[in-house]
């Protein structure tokens, strides 16, 4: 069928590289529309471009040149990659050992914290100061929360946005911005939304988790996705309770007022940044303590082998619900901060897309690795902020999701444990991929009765 010369490994790799480059060309090209459905394609391949600034040609020429370079690198790597990698890991072994020492880690974390505190003064630019809150800090908060569910407990939750929405709506409710009367009959300050939000999301986590977490992994994913959709539908349609599709625009800025201390957040983003940073630090501490506690060990046991865990007296459902509720708490916080910083909320911000975006942050850094997730979230969110702020030619905002989709697949193929994996997770993944017994829920061979 296929000519033999095409089946030779280097040629096959060249074809793959060419295919990938063609796709890259397409997704970086100009958009089309349903009236001119081919304009995206023709524009992507036939548009004029400068050949790396040397002479003018068409985009495909530039990209084929790029493909050849990429192919060369791939060929080089297949031939010499193994040696380079083994030398590299020998060279890195020393630093890696040092980096795992406790004082080094604590020192590193403190340095990062100082950097985090100084950051708004370093960037000193209105867009980036606000982006630090709306693009970065909030998303870090969400990502470390979802990491508890996906990374620690190994549960794929595609409805995580529901908890964020509950946090935001609670803020609106507590401050009297919804048609529903606020608690105790009179509006409270937005700051008081935090305890309410935490209680509500934890309750929601338990209510949602208790029935659904009995399900197998793939069913759980689809049911949580359904729940996320249901929440959006309700938020959109219950005009009398949520304000319907127009949401609300009257959420006041928070005020912290205990005794003589009074602080009012205003329009400026930097104070919100510190509020969010404080929450991030709080949850980082909480989650790393949990990870190292017996709860964390029980999560690991369930994730690795649920049947064995149960044979040791661990109640899987209880610990899964716990992960759900604990992970939800940080989303609730994020919801409060977003709603009170923005002063408005719309149900259209709480969709499946949002849940997936958070999932991407978790996966890029490395499921289960707190530091990895933080770094991953910062990288992606900064790129996103940059692209939205100064979009390159032909770039539209939703294009980001194309890259996100491609990134998810690429990560799963080449680096399933993430960029900065937790040591244990990396071991887990390589272990059941190399073991002859396979993993209990391995696809294709996973029918163990």
């Amino acid at each position: 069928m296929i000519p033999t010369f095409l089946q030779r490994a280097p040629i096959r790799r060249l074809l793959i590289v060419l295919g990938i480059v063609a796709v890259v060309e397409l997704i970086t090209g100009p958009p089309g529309s349903n009236q001119y459905p081919t304009s995206g394609f023709t524009g992507s391949y036939a548009e004029a471009a400068s050949f790396f600034g040397l002479f003018r040609t068409q985009r495909w020429v530039e990209f084929v040149a790029l493909a050849l370079v990429a192919w060369g690198i791939v060929e080089f790597w297949t031939r010499f990659g193994a040696t380079i990698r083994s030398r590299g890991s020998v060279a890195l072994a020393g630093p890696r050992q040092v980096s795992e020492k406790r004082p080094v880690r604590v020192g590193f974390a403190l340095a990062l914290l100082v950097l985090g505190i100084l950051l708004p003064h370093i960037v000193n630019n209105a867009f980036w100061q606000s982006a630090l809150v709306t693009y970065v800090a909030i998303y870090v908060l969400l990502a470390i929360g979802l990491n508890v569910v996906v990374g620690f407990a190994g549960l794929l939750d595609l409805g995580y946005v529901a908890f964020y929405a509950i946090g935001a709506y609670t803020t609106a409710w507590v401050t009297g911005a919804l048609p529903t009367p606020p608690p105790f009959g009179h509006p409270l300050d937005a700051f008081w939304a935090i305890p309410f939000a935490v209680v509500f999301v934890v309750i929601a986590g338990v209510l949602l988790g208790a029935p659904t977490l009995r399900l197998r992994g793939d069913y759980l994913a689809i049911v949580t996705l359904g729940f996320g959709e249901i929440i959006t539908i309700f938020a959109n349609n219950l005009y009398g309770i949520t304000g319907g599709s127009t949401g609300t625009k009257q959420i006041p800025h928070p005020v912290f007022h205990v005794g003589p201390i009074k602080y009012t957040w205003g329009l400026a983003p930097v104070p919100y940044y510190y509020l969010a940073l404080g929450s991030v630090v709080l949850f980082l501490v909480v989650f790393s303590l949990l990870q190292r506690s017996r709860v964390g060990r029980a999560w690991t046991a369930i994730r690795e082998d649920e049947v064995a865990a149960e044979s040791l007296g661990i109640n899987p459902l209880k610990f899964k619900v716990m992960a759900f509720a604990v992970g939800a708490a940080s989303a609730g916080f994020a919801g409060v901060i977003t709603a009170s910083a923005d002063n408005f909320l719309f149900p259209s911000s709480f969709t499946l897309v949002f849940s997936i975006n958070i999932l991407v942050l978790v996966i890029l850094g490395g499921m289960g690795s707190i530091s990895g997730v933080v770094v991953g979230a910062i990288i992606i969110q900064v790129i996103q902020a940059y692209l939205n702020h100064t979009p390159p030619a032909g770039y539209q905002q939703p294009d980001l999701y194309i890259y996100v989709g491609a990134l998810l697949i690429t990560m799963m193929i080449f680096r399933p444990a993430g960029l900065i994996p937790s040591r244990q997770r990396r071991r887990e993944i390589t272990l059941y991929e190399t073991s002859h017994e396979g993993h209990p829920d391995e696809v294709l061979l996973g029918d163990d009765v």
């Binding site: 793939d218 697949i409 990560m411 294709l444």
Partner: protein, 320 residues
């Protein structure tokens, strides 16, 4: 309590009056769900995996059909032989596009993971990535706004059942889906290919020892399920129009249908699709249109919690 009784009484009156009308629409929807559900079930049967990207296969079919219609339908609505020709071409294009998209997903997002014997979580994430990539790429190339399909036939009432009109559209769905289900039943039940699919579904390891080419069988399963999903996307688009994220809700419902009938069970998928379509349509009487999707998801959650093996039970190998 009295007012609730009154509410039920009046709504049941409406239900009685509108029953056959809603029933016909429900069957048409249900058959579309069933065509998509079959794709989930086939892939689940051989891989024990929910193909999250199936919604985009549906979408590809929708767009392929749309472009055929755009090219073929002029300023007047065609009739007679021309209508049949256009619809057949649309089906062919949609089926091909669906099969191509499914193959692409299998090759790029699943096969490398299968080679590595990756855990289930990795497949799910990779599938979500594929879905995300495809529908957003469609959004970039074809715009983010919904567009109606040009009508290739006059959608008149062909005949009536108990006073309820059956439109040309309903009839087309009925004919196309029944033909495809019969063909599928024959393919899986009677041919060598089908035996391969069933043996992989039952026990992949043994099947491979018996000389069944697993890679090829899986590829064919994706092609068959993809073709059906693509055609369903085309038929859906005829009525609703096409847009980059058109696959999401119908696919979620089709998944519900597959679970309802017993995932991995082909006849179950058809039964589940029909049931879901009809129940959903009848619910229009009781709940506002905006909450119809909630009904479907509610059914999904309920089935998964109460009887996760569905009505007819799982197992492609045994019951197909």
């Amino acid at each position: 309590m009295g007012s609730f009784g009154h509410y039920l009484a009046t709504h049941f009156d409406t239900l009685k009056a509108e029953f056959w009308f809603l029933f016909v629409g429900g069957v048409a929807n249900g058959l579309l769900y069933a065509m998509v559900a079959v794709g989930y079930t086939l892939v689940y049967g051989v891989l024990r995996l929910i193909n999250f990207a199936h919604s985009e296969i549906f979408m590809s079919g929708g767009f392929a059909g749309y472009f055929v219609l755009r090219a073929m339908v002029g300023s007047t609505v065609p009739a007679g032989f021309m209508s049949v020709l256009i619809i057949v071409l649309g089906i062919a294009a949609a089926g091909t596009a669906g099969a191509a998209a499914a193959t692409l997903v299998e090759r790029v997002a699943y096969r490398p993971l299968r080679r590595r014997r990756a855990p289930q979580l990795a497949y799910l994430i990779s599938a979500i990535g594929a879905s995300y990539f495809l529908f957003n790429l469609a959004g970039k190339e074809f715009g983010h706004l919904s567009v109606g399909d040009p009508q290739p036939y006059i959608n008149h009432t062909v005949f009536t059942i108990f006073g309820a009109p059956v439109l040309m559209y309903d009839l087309i769905i009925l004919i196309v889906s029944v033909v495809m289900f019969l063909a599928l039943d024959w393919l899986v039940g009677r041919t060598r290919l089908g035996r391969g699919i069933r043996s992989v579904a039952q026990d992949a390891e043994t099947a491979s020892l018996m000389g069944v080419n697993i890679d090829r069988t899986i590829a064919i399963t994706f092609i068959v399920g993809g073709a059906l999903g693509g055609v369903a996307g085309f038929l859906y688009g005829l009525n609703i129009g096409v847009v980059y994220n058109m696959g999401f809700v119908p696919a979620l419902k089709a998944f519900t249908a597959a679970v309802l009938g017993g995932i991995g069970n082909l006849r179950g998928a058809v039964l589940g699709g029909l049931l879901l379509g009809i129940v959903e349509n009848l619910c229009v009487v009781f709940v506002q249109a905006a909450y119809i999707d909630v009904v479907a998801f509610g059914i999904l959650v309920l089935v998964l919690l109460v009887r996760p093996t569905g009505i007819l039970g799982e197992r492609l190998g045994r019951t197909a």
